[in-house]
């Protein structure tokens, strides 16, 4: 102890210039907390406001019955069901293609200028305004393919938009799987295809699910492209799955937009009610994805076949 500088433990104390550093450190730390609060506050206020205004509209009738008197009375049951169909169809159409091409781009494609160009294009696609997708959907599915304005066209248009997000995030999470465990599998004489399916994809799955979830949440909220490809306001139609082909789309986002712009005559609280239902649908999607992630991580650490 005597060999240490100083007689007491004074050399352990923060020197004067260190105190200044500590001060700046605390300022920066405080700013990051402030930024977090600034971000969280509107979210809480918006969600709280929607719940407060909309809760009174939420009745059993509102949730489980069809509209009466052009939607001014009755419920939005058909809109809820058809929104569900629309989003499920988006998943069915976008996930296999999205994950498939992400696997190709990250695992099989030969690195080079062409691959870089393709990756850049896909990232940019994720940034294309949704109305452009709507326009493309209308031109391609309705004019070129000669489709009717039906629910699947809305799903296909939204799926195109979701693709870009799904490919980008799935590619990222595939690339983040360490080289070590891939090589471990390949070095056992397991083929590249099997390594991809049994090692790489399961490892990347949580990240892929997050990407899919993000894409679906966005699709659920899209309004502009949905209008272009022919969504309609609440209407009583047959709700069996054949509605995907036979009926026009009714989605919560457009229902809300339509009622807001329609203005007069439509009860204010019902608009908030629709907003609340939309928020809840997105929340349910989010929670189920979280649950799925959790289940996968449970299986992954204990026993996965």
């Amino acid at each position: 102890m005597s060999a240490l500088p100083g007689t007491s433990s004074s050399w352990l104390r923060t020197p004067p210039e260190g105190k200044r550093k500590n001060f700046y450190q605390n300022v920066v730390f405080g700013l990051t907390i402030l930024a977090t609060i600034v971000v969280l506050t509107p979210i809480v206020i918006v969600a709280g406001y929607v719940v407060r205004e909309g809760l009174s509209a939420i009745t059993l009738e509102f949730l489980t019955e069809g509209p009466r008197r052009d939607g001014a009375e009755g419920g939005i049951w058909p809109v809820i069901v058809l929104t569900g169909y629309t989003l499920i169809l988006v998943v069915v159409m976008a996930v296999p293609f999205g994950v498939g091409s992400a696997v190709f781009l990250s695992e099989y494609a030969r690195p080079g200028r062409l691959l870089r160009l393709i990756n850049l294009t896909i990232i940019n696609l994720a940034g294309v305004p949704s109305i452009v997708y709507g326009l493309f959907g209308a031109a391609f599915f309705l004019d070129i393919l000669g489709g009717e304005k039906s629910l699947w066209v809305v799903s296909a248009t939204l799926a195109l938009q979701a693709l870009a997000i799904i490919i980008t995030s799935a590619r990222e999470s595939l690339l983040s799987v360490t080289r070590g465990i891939r090589e471990g599998s390949l070095a056992l004489g397991v083929s590249k295809l099997r390594t991809t399916f049994f090692i790489t994809l399961p490892q990347a799955l949580p990240g892929i699910i997050t990407g899919v979830l993000l894409a679906i949440s966005r699709a659920a909220g899209e309004t502009a492209p949905v209008i272009v490809v022919g969504a309609i306001l609440a209407k009583n139609v047959s709700l069996n799955p054949s509605a995907v082909i036979n009926e026009r789309a009714q989605v919560l986002s457009f229902e809300l937009y339509g009622r807001i712009t329609e203005g007069i005559g439509y009860p204010e609280e019902r608009k908030w009610g629709i907003a609340l239902v939309l928020l809840t649908v997105v929340l349910i999607f989010n929670l189920s994805a979280l649950f799925l992630r959790w289940r996968i991580s449970q299986l992954g650490s204990v026993r996965r076949n």
């Binding site: 465990i181 090589e183 056992l188 004489g189 397991v190 650490s301 204990v302 996965r304």
Partner: protein
């Protein structure tokens, strides 16, 4: 100098074995190798050839990483590849199971034959080759699965076990052969990543044993492990050498001296192209090196 060292080791082989493990000097290496030689009789060059290299070169794009390497690796013996960092020893090792195929822009020239078959041949399936030439990596890389499934993964994907009981037997056998069974038999369903570093590496060895290879490549298998775990792996390597052909890359000369029967010394010059400098029985290479550069390296004058 050499004679002096040998005389002292004969009197106290055991003590030198333990000091040689910790210290880094070249003289200790000689002591270690003499002690190891006393413990196990040396194999002779009349043994059968497992792997034969003829004028092997490796290119990464425009860079020549390894040039003109020719030598034979013998069956059921341990061969060590030593040399300073960047001398191409790992690169060369990865040619033996064509792991370099996976790195775009890599080109291997010359011929490498495994039991007489040229593995660079067009009709050779690298996937099939890797079943026979297994590999253990520098960093333990257990799969994110249970201990049991880590072992079962290979056999399951390759269809090596026909029933559940066969698979269970294979799992136990592999873990026993990798000297890990007693430590994990009560927790086979726990994740492989929950094991310690040394146990993880033995799990990775067990995983390789489960697909029944003939040759096992080890790429600096102990460099991420503590001395005790290293010792266990080395013991295991000596045991496995009775049934398998082992090729180990190591930057630890004492380790090469302790575990190997044959040692190849590689060195890269200014242009960073690795060449084979000397290949001899381990004892000979460490006690009476033929090449001045080998002597300089093992006595710690560089590298």
């Amino acid at each position: 100098m050499t004679n002096e060292t040998t005389t002292t080791t004969e009197t106290g082989a055991e003590t030198n074995l333990s000091t040689g493990r910790m210290a880094g000097g070249g003289v200790d290496v000689k002591a270690t190798v003499a002690a190891a030689a006393a413990a196990s009789p040396k194999k002779t060059s009349t043994d059968q050839v497992a792997l034969s290299l003829n004028n092997v070169g490796v290119w990464y794009g425009q860079h020549e990483a390894v040039q003109g390497v020719s030598f034979d690796i013998y069956q059921r013996a341990t061969t060590a590849l030593i040399g300073p960092s960047g001398c191409g020893k790992s690169t060369l090792l990865r040619c033996f199971n064509r792991m370099n195929d996976l790195i775009p822009g890599t080109r291997v020239t010359g011929t490498i034959s495994v039991e007489g078959v040229d593995i660079m041949g067009k009709d050779v399936d690298a996937v099939q080759l890797r079943r026979h030439v297994g590999m253990v990596f520098q960093k333990p890389n257990p799969f994110p699965m249970s201990i049991k499934e880590n072992i079962a993964f290979g056999p399951k994907r390759l269809g090596l076990a026909k029933s559940k009981s066969q698979m269970d037997d294979l799992i136990e056998e592999s873990l026993r052969d990798a000297a890990l069974w007693d430590e994990v038999k009560d927790k086979l369903d726990e994740p492989g990543t929950s094991l310690s570093g040394g146990q993880q590496q033995r799990l990775c060895i067990a995983r390789v044993l489960a697909v029944k290879p003939d040759i096992i490549l080890m790429d600096e298998p102990c460099s991420a492990l503590d001395p005790i775990a290293t010792l266990k792996i080395e013991d295991l390597m000596r045991t496995l050498a009775k049934d398998y052909t082992i090729v180990v890359v190591t930057h630890n000369m004492q380790q090469a001296a302790r575990v190997s029967d044959w040692t190849a010394f590689l060195l890269a010059g200014e242009e960073r192209t690795g060449r084979l400098i000397e290949y001899s029985p381990t004892e000979q290479l460490f006690t009476t090196p033929r090449d001045k550069r080998t002597e300089d390296y093992i006595t710690g004058r560089f590298g």
